[in-house]
Each structure stands twice: as structure tokens, then as C-alpha cells.
């Protein structure tokens, strides 16, 4: 039993920090998926590819256009958002009235194309992206060393998540969005341009994925596979949390990151799989998901 309490605080808090960072990305991506699902009723298989696209755009901006990190943080999400809007208008819209399985397959096809193109152009090994000067270095806390960039990721993504939550739950625009989720026909009857809201929603979700990509570029290596790997985990998170609630998606994302971090400390062999195992547990005990409504 003695070994159970023989915890290396330094290592444990390190893993917890990594867990929180992964959790921030899970939360950002799960949030985007949940928003898109709410209005379009589709599961966006391109989400990982858009995240990858965000990271690569930041890298290309720095390498070829001398756009620094801060510019990328503003411009890339906008660019990916516009790209998402184009995707929605040209490809997803025409089959919106079909079975939703088709839009799933369509977005999967788009993801394959994007990932394939970037693998061809940049190879499958990762590219480095330097941490911006302002955020280099770190702070020494009594129990751990906290790199500034990592603290920045956690704070920034929390602010973005909270802001999005506020936008959707507390503002008039958000009320339209939620009403559109409940009953699009009625909304249209009230004179609200639902197709426009749908397009903007997809663009916003895509922009969030792009933003996550920019944030990720300095700490994960920028690689074509980065999107598909994280997306499958985020799917499991979305199943755990249920997509009915924006807050639920954010909380589940963060919590699963922490669970993963703890597993890395206590039983590293299972750290890749622990989130999937949690999903199995949730399916067995509360099939609709922790925050989901009974379907």
C-alpha cells in the first residue's frame, strides 16, 4: 500500500498539465462538432482535417509569408471559417435533405482529400513551429515548472470556450441558433434566414477547428495525420458527453484530457485507450451520454 501514496508530485502535476492541454483541444473541437451538429444534424468528419489545415496554414504563413503567430491566430480561423462556408455552400448544402449518413460520408471524403494532399505536399513526418517569443520561457511553481505557452493555451481556449458558450446561451444570435436547432421551419416562418444561419454556423465551427490548429502548431508537430488521430478521440468524447449541450461538450472535453493525463501517470500503457474505455462504461450505464437527453 505504501507505493500507492508514493506519488511523485512533480511528475503527476506535469501529466495533469499535459492532460489539461489535451483537454483544451478536445473541448475546442468537441464544441465545434456540437455546434455544427445542433443546427445541421450532421457529424462533421472534416473537423479533424480543418484542424490540421489550421496548423498548416499557420506554418505556411510563418515560413512563406512572414506572418507571425499572432497574425495567424487572427487570420487563420477566419480563413478556415471562409473555407468552411464554401464547403457548406457548394458540397454539403446540396445533400442536406438526404439521409444524414450521406453528409457524414461526404465530409469523410473531404477529409481524405485534404489529408492526402498535405501528405503529398509536406510528407507525413511532422514540421516544427517555433513558440512565439513573447510566450517562451516559463514560471517555476513550488510543485512544478509551468511553461508560459502551455499556460497560454489553457487560458486562451478556456476564454474561447466560455465566450462561445455565452454567445450561444445568452445572446439573441444564440437564441436564433438554439431555436433553429429545435424547429427550423417555424424559425423560417418568423422571417429569419435559416439557410444563412446554417452556413454561418458551419463556418464558425470550422473556424474554431482552425483556431485549435493554430494553438496546437507550436506544441504538437504539424503533420497531416494530426487531425484524424485527434478526431476519433473527440468522437468518443462526444459520445460520452452527448451533443445536446454546449457546456457539456466543453466540460467533457476538459475532463477527458485530465483523465488521460492521470492515466499517463498511473498506468501509461492505457493512456491511448482510456477515453475509449470511459466511452464503453458510459454506454453501459448511461447510453444517452452524460449530458444527453434520452433520444
Amino acid at each position: 500500500m505504501a507505493t500507492l501514496f508514493d506519488i511523485n508530485l512533480f511528475a503527476l502535476s506535469g501529466q495533469l498539465l499535459i492532460g489539461l492541454i489535451n483537454g483544451s483541444f478536445y473541448a475546442l473541437l468537441a464544441l465545434g462538432l456540437a455546434i455544427i451538429f445542433g443546427l445541421l444534424k450532421i457529424i462533421n468528419f472534416s473537423h479533424g482535417a480543418l484542424y490540421m489545415l489550421g496548423a498548416f496554414s499557420a506554418w505556411i504563413g510563418l515560413e512563406y509569408l512572414q506572418l507571425n503567430y499572432w497574425w495567424a491566430l487572427v487570420l487563420v480561423p477566419l480563413g478556415i471559417g471562409v473555407f468552411g462556408i464554401l464547403l457548406e455552400r457548394t458540397l454539403i448544402r446540396p445533400i442536406a435533405h438526404e439521409d444524414h449518413l450521406y453528409s457524414l460520408l461526404l465530409t469523410f471524403g473531404i477529409a481524405l482529400i485534404l489529408q492526402g494532399l498535405f501528405t503529398h505536399w509536406f510528407g507525413s513526418s511532422g514540421l516544427p513551429y517555433a513558440i512565439p517569443e513573447e510566450l517562451q520561457g516559463g514560471t517555476r511553481l513550488p510543485f512544478m515548472y509551468l511553461p508560459n505557452y502551455r499556460a497560454w493555451i489553457i487560458m486562451f481556449s478556456l476564454v474561447v470556450c466560455a465566450g462561445t458558450w455565452y454567445l450561444i446561451e445568452k445572446t439573441k444570435l444564440g437564441a436564433y441558433l438554439r431555436a433553429g436547432t429545435e424547429n427550423p421551419q417555424l424559425m423560417q416562418a418568423f422571417g429569419i434566414n435559416v439557410p444563412l444561419i446554417v452556413t454561418l454556423t458551419y463556418g464558425f465551427g470550422a473556424g474554431l477547428a482552425g483556431l485549435a490548429g493554430v494553438l496546437a502548431a507550436p506544441i504538437y508537430s504539424v503533420a497531416p495525420e494530426m487531425g484524424s488521430n485527434i478526431l476519433i478521440v473527440v468522437f468518443a468524447i462526444v459520445v460520452i458527453g452527448g451533443m445536446g449541450s454546449i457546456g457539456g461538450a466543453i466540460l467533457t472535453g476538459l475532463a477527458m484530457g485530465v483523465v488521460e493525463g492521470l492515466t499517463k501517470y498511473f498506468y501509461p500503457e492505457a493512456s491511448n485507450t482510456v477515453i475509449f474505455l470511459v466511452m464503453v462504461l458510459v454506454l453501459l450505464t448511461k447510453p444517452a451520454g452524460l449530458f444527453g437527453k434520452e433520444a
Binding site: L105, L112, T119, H120, V233, V239, P287
Partner: protein, 308 residues
């Protein structure tokens, strides 16, 4: 009558095909055709989109491969064990997956398949990134030497015909009718008193079992079981084969699998080799946007139009 003639013609063609085409290519096409047919049983007839079906292909391949390498079993016993393992996994995964519907079903199956992927990546017996190499083909019933490609081809053909026959029998059975009823209108099937989840589970297990059969056979053909077999990309590929050929038709997945394998074979040696994933993606997008009935579906439409 017409149908019977067509079937006989196809059988005749399959029997003489190795004279004209490379047997390993044909065996690969047959394995994937069986895999796609098994997948189609679930998607096309029960309306369930599993996005992790590669896990059953891979499990069949790994179990058969491991047993044949380690214990030198005869191929029929090795395949039987691989198929059994896939069926068991299909039962476990199916029990979990049928708890959710629609796109959640797709996400659950994908996540469960990824769970197995990491297991196979880390487990000591799979050879990790290198895969299980040098799987012996052995002697069928201790008599027929399968290391001869032509013998192996006829063995694979027999397996395919058995699997395809089972699927056809299932689709036309009362059970198949209930599956289709669930696909068309689940609430109505429930209100008619059918235990929908049990039917879905049975369809899932059957599909997983046959996918495992395809995987076990594939492991013998290529004498290899690797992580490619359990990767999500493989799961996507089988969806594409079924979609391209025509889901919900018996022959669609066969045609779709053949087409995809042929395309990959042609591309692999050409200047577009690096673009295989991109091209698969484009085919996916085109199929969904313009070509939802698939090759066989469009063909049927054409025939119907011209005979009316």
C-alpha cells in the same frame, strides 16, 4: 431463369479467370469483395453504418495469422479460429453499439475500432508496426498444398461463394425481411413487436463474422496480418467499396470492391501513386453527390428504363 444463367456465367468466368489475370490480384479482389458484402449486409440491408468494420477484418487476420505461425495449424482450423474470434468481438462491440442510433452508431463503432487498433499496436503478439509476417498457408485438410497460387485461388473462390451464398440466403430469409423493415421504419418495426435491438445485434454479429472470414483468408493470401487491416482508413475503404458498387444490392459491393482494388493496382505503379488517398476521397465525394445508387443501382435503373 435469366438470373441462374448469369450466375453460371459468372461462376464460369471466375473459374477461368486465373488464366488471364494474376491470381494474387484476383484473391485480393475476392477477399475485399467478401469484406464489402459483409459490410453491406449491415449498411445496405439493416441500415446501420459501422465506421469501424476494419477491426473485424483485422481480428480475423491477426488470430489466424498468430495461430498458424505459432502452432502451425492447418488453414481450415486457423480460419475457423479467426472467424470465431471476430464473431465474439462482433458480439461484444455490437452489444455496445446498438445502444445508440444513426451517426452516434457510426462514432461508437469508430471509437471501439480505434480501441482495438491501440491494443493491436501494443500487444506483443502482433509484431507492432511490422505486423505478423511469414504466415504459412499450410496444407488444406493436410492434403492440398496452398502455397501453390492456383490451389489457393480456388480455395479463396470457394470461401467467397460460401460467404456470398450465406449473405444472399440471409437477405431473402424472414430475418432479412425484418432487417429491411427496421431499415425502412424502425418505430413501426418496434410497434409490430419485433425486438429491434436483438435483430440489429444479430445482423452485426453476422456481418462481423463474415468480415472476419475475409480477414482470415486475406492473412493466408498475403501471408501477412498488419496494422493496415485494423486502421480506420480500411474501415473507410470498405464503406467506399459498398457505396461505389451500390449499397443494398447483392452484387454492388462485389463490383465496388473489384473496381477499387483495380484502381489502386493501376495507380500504385503509375505517376499518381502518391495521390491514392486524394483520389479515393474524390470518388467518395462524387459518389455521395451524384451517384448515390452506385454502379449496380444505376445499371438497374438503366435496365428498367429501357424495358419499360
Amino acid at each position: 431463369m435469366n438470373n441462374k444463367m448469369l450466375n453460371l456465367l459468372l461462376l464460369g468466368l471466375a473459374l477461368v479467370a486465373p488464366l488471364a489475370l494474376y491470381p494474387v490480384f484476383l484473391m485480393k479482389a475476392l477477399c475485399f469483395a467478401l469484406f464489402a458484402c459483409a459490410f453491406n449486409l449491415l449498411l445496405g440491408f439493416a441500415g446501420l453504418l459501422s465506421f469501424g468494420h476494419a477491426v473485424f477484418l483485422g481480428t480475423g487476420a491477426y488470430v489466424t495469422g498468430y495461430l498458424m505461425v505459432t502452432y502451425g495449424l492447418t488453414p481450415e482450423v486457423g480460419i475457423l479460429a479467426g472467424v470465431g474470434a471476430s464473431a465474439l468481438l462482433g458480439f461484444i462491440y455490437g452489444t455496445l453499439a446498438v445502444k445508440r442510433e444513426g451517426i452516434y452508431f457510426a462514432m461508437v463503432t469508430l471509437a471501439l475500432a480505434q480501441l482495438a487498433f491501440f491494443f493491436y499496436l501494443q500487444a506483443p503478439f502482433t509484431g507492432g508496426e511490422d505486423g505478423l509476417q511469414g504466415v504459412p498457408r499450410g496444407k488444406l485438410f493436410g492434403l492440398v498444398d496452398l502455397s501453390d497460387n492456383l490451389n489457393m485461388y480456388y480455395f479463396v473462390l470457394a470461401i467467397f461463394i460460401a460467404g456470398f451464398g450465406l449473405i444472399r440466403r440471409t437477405v431473402h430469409s424472414p430475418f432479412g425481411q425484418v432487417m429491411k423493415a427496421i431499415r425502412e421504419n424502425e418505430p413501426r418495426a418496434i410497434s409490430l413487436g419485433y425486438k429491434v435491438n436483438q435483430y440489429k445485434l444479430l445482423a452485426f454479429v453476422l456481418s462481423a463474422t463474415l468480415a472476419g472470414l475475409a480477414g482470415s483468408t486475406k492473412a493466408l493470401v498475403f501471408q501477412l496480418a498488419s496494422l493496415n487491416d485494423v486502421h480506420w482508413f480500411m474501415s473507410g475503404e470498405v464503406v467506399l467499396m459498398t457505396l461505389l458498387g451500390g449499397m443494398g444490392t447483392l452484387w454492388g459491393p462485389v463490383l465496388g470492391a473489384g473496381t477499387i482494388i483495380a484502381i489502386q493496382n493501376v495507380l500504385a505503379s503509375g505517376p499518381l501513386a502518391n495521390y491514392i488517398h486524394v483520389i479515393m476521397g474524390i470518388v467518395f465525394v462524387l459518389c455521395v453527390l451524384a451517384f448515390r445508387n452506385g454502379l449496380v443501382g444505376e445499371l438497374q435503373k438503366l435496365i428498367r428504363k429501357n424495358f419499360n
